[in-house]
């Protein structure tokens, strides 16, 4: 009766060609029966966005973890976090992320925009998940009784929507927050490198044949972080690279409640 999770990123073929580093980053922290996860996609135009993405994810997770000591465990009860409180928590997370990026920029003598990246964060208990998204990428969640759900519709579709980054002036305004109540089963967070193969854009729905094998893999493996071959092979596969030349990240989480049944 616990969460298990894995986070992996792979460099896109276009970045390899240009000898750019992977500008995606994903990580998670499991703490009792709560999981905190975050993924970030460094802006292609930002010089040090690989550093920015990693620092953003780490800062966001640490911030939520600290916060947890005071408020989080109180909410591990079946009652989901109220929307307003979720927004306050994530607004605070964003504030700390921006502060960390500013400090990093100042100490390395470059502009904070050189660290620009998107950010997707979630905080899940067995009974609800609260999530936020700034910029593109996607989070799909499946409740124990239910289908894959896309938590936020893609942050584009109209050319006038430029992707928002955590360093954008409108980041807080554009930050989307959602609390999904219900018994959690599977969560997949990803950057936009996988969006076009995983999400049907015409009606913004997750494509079940994409997510089912990933969930199945999470069910089958007891130690996903050690048994990562499947995910690494998939992210580096030619089949996938033929569809996307961007960096790609998968953060997969499964709540294993088999032992309580």
């Amino acid at each position: 009766m616990d969460w298990k999770a894995i986070a992996r990123s792979a460099t896109g073929t276009s970045h390899k060609k240009q000898q750019l580093p992977c500008q995606d980053y994903g990580q998670f922290i499991i703490c009792h029966n709560v999981i905190l996860g975050a993924v970030a996609d460094g802006a292609g135009s930002a010089k040090h966005s690989d550093v920015g993405a990693k620092l953003t994810v780490e800062t966001a997770l640490n911030e939520l973890l600290q916060l947890g000591e005071y408020t989080l465990y109180l909410h591990c009860a079946p009652q989901p976090l109220p929307d307003e409180q979720a927004r306050t928590i994530f607004a605070n997370t964003l504030k700390e992320v921006v502060k960390a990026l500013q400090e990093q920029a100042a100490s390395s003598d470059y502009s904070v925009n050189d660290l620009a990246c998107t950010l997707l964060v979630f905080l899940a208990t067995p009974n609800w998940v609260a999530a936020m998204q700034i910029g593109d990428g996607f989070i799909v969640a499946r409740l124990r009784e239910g289908e894959d759900q896309l938590l936020f519709t893609p942050d584009k579709g109209e050319f006038i929507n430029e992707t928002t980054f955590v360093t954008s002036a409108n980041a807080l305004n554009d930050m989307r927050v959602r609390v999904l109540p219900g018994q959690q089963k599977f969560i997949c967070a990803s950057t936009d490198g996988l969006e076009r193969v995983a999400i049907r854009m015409s009606d913004c729905t997750p494509f079940p044949p994409f997510f089912q094998p990933l969930e199945e893999y999470m069910v089958e493996t007891s130690h996903p972080e050690q048994e990562d071959e499947y995910i690494r092979n998939f992210l580096d596969s030619e089949r996938l690279n033929a569809k996307t030349d961007d960096d790609k990240t998968l953060l997969l989480c499964l709540y294993d409640d088999s032992k309580v049944k």
């Binding site: 292609g44 135009s45 593109d136 584009k156 579709g157 050319f159 006038i160 929507n161 430029e162 992707t163 936009d192 076009r196 193969v197 995983a198 999400i199 049907r200 854009m201 015409s202 009606d203 494509f207 044949p209 994409f210 997510f211 089912q212 094998p213 990933l214 199945e216 893999y217 089958e220 493996t221 499947y230 998939f234 596969s237 089949r239 996938l240 569809k243 961007d246």
Partner: protein
């Protein structure tokens, strides 16, 4: 533990619409119109060299005058370069209105089919001065530009009234005077620009290749 691999959803290719707004008035007769025709053919040829661009770029052509939609939006593969002939007046205002309306209709089609699209380009090429009322059309262009709904380029060929073109073109993108009749270089540049745009994510600002085919008027 035999686990299958994720399958991929087939999403339609992102579209990159470009609308050519071409002056085929009497003054273009002879060499200018022939060079223009060759330039358009070179455009098709050059875009086809790039797999991604040839799947994304969609071309439409409106000629004036009279104002006629001679090619509705089509992907490069389905686009046959026209043999344009020159005659008639220069109703630039009406032509722009027609182009903006056509573009809006196309966007509706994209939206209805869940197709994502890049900011459309309108490319106006003229060697004259408007023979109709152009002020309202110019205002529409500038408003749409300000809202980032399109990118409007005005290209003047020898004889063009650059003063009026500068009042139609958005202030941040002044008209460009073509070097002689070097339409070929212009269209190869347009193709190169489309390749850059279509290889990027939607919404990303792309640095365009340098304009080697004309002089930017300021």
């Amino acid at each position: 533990m035999p686990v299958g691999l994720p399958e991929f959803v087939e999403n339609p290719e992102n579209r990159c619409p470009v609308l050519l707004l071409l002056d085929t008035s009497g003054s273009m007769v002879g060499e200018p119109i022939q060079e223009l025709n060759r330039g358009i053919a070179a455009f098709k040829e050059d875009v086809l060299k790039d797999t991604k661009a040839s799947l994304s770029v969609e071309v439409a052509i409106i000629t004036f005058g009279p104002v006629r939609l001679i090619q509705d939006f089509a992907t490069i593969e389905h686009f046959t370069p026209p043999r344009l002939e020159a005659s008639g007046f220069t109703p630039i205002g009406e032509a722009i209105d027609c182009a903006l309306d056509r573009l809006e209709a196309r966007k509706e089609t994209y939206k209805a089919n869940g197709i994502q699209y890049y900011r459309p380009w309108i490319f106006l090429i003229t060697d004259g001065a408007p023979s109709d009322c152009w002020q309202l059309a110019a205002q529409r262009v500038r408003e749409d530009e300000a809202k980032r709904r399109l990118c409007f380029f005005a290209v003047g060929v020898q004889g063009a009234n650059t003063n009026i073109l500068a009042q139609i073109a958005p202030p941040e993108r002044p008209p460009i005077m073509l070097n002689g009749l070097d339409f070929r270089s212009l269209f190869v540049w347009l193709s190169a620009s489309m390749k850059r745009v279509s290889s990027e994510k939607i919404g990303v600002a792309v640095a365009l290749p340098p304009v080697g085919w004309g002089q930017i008027t300021t």
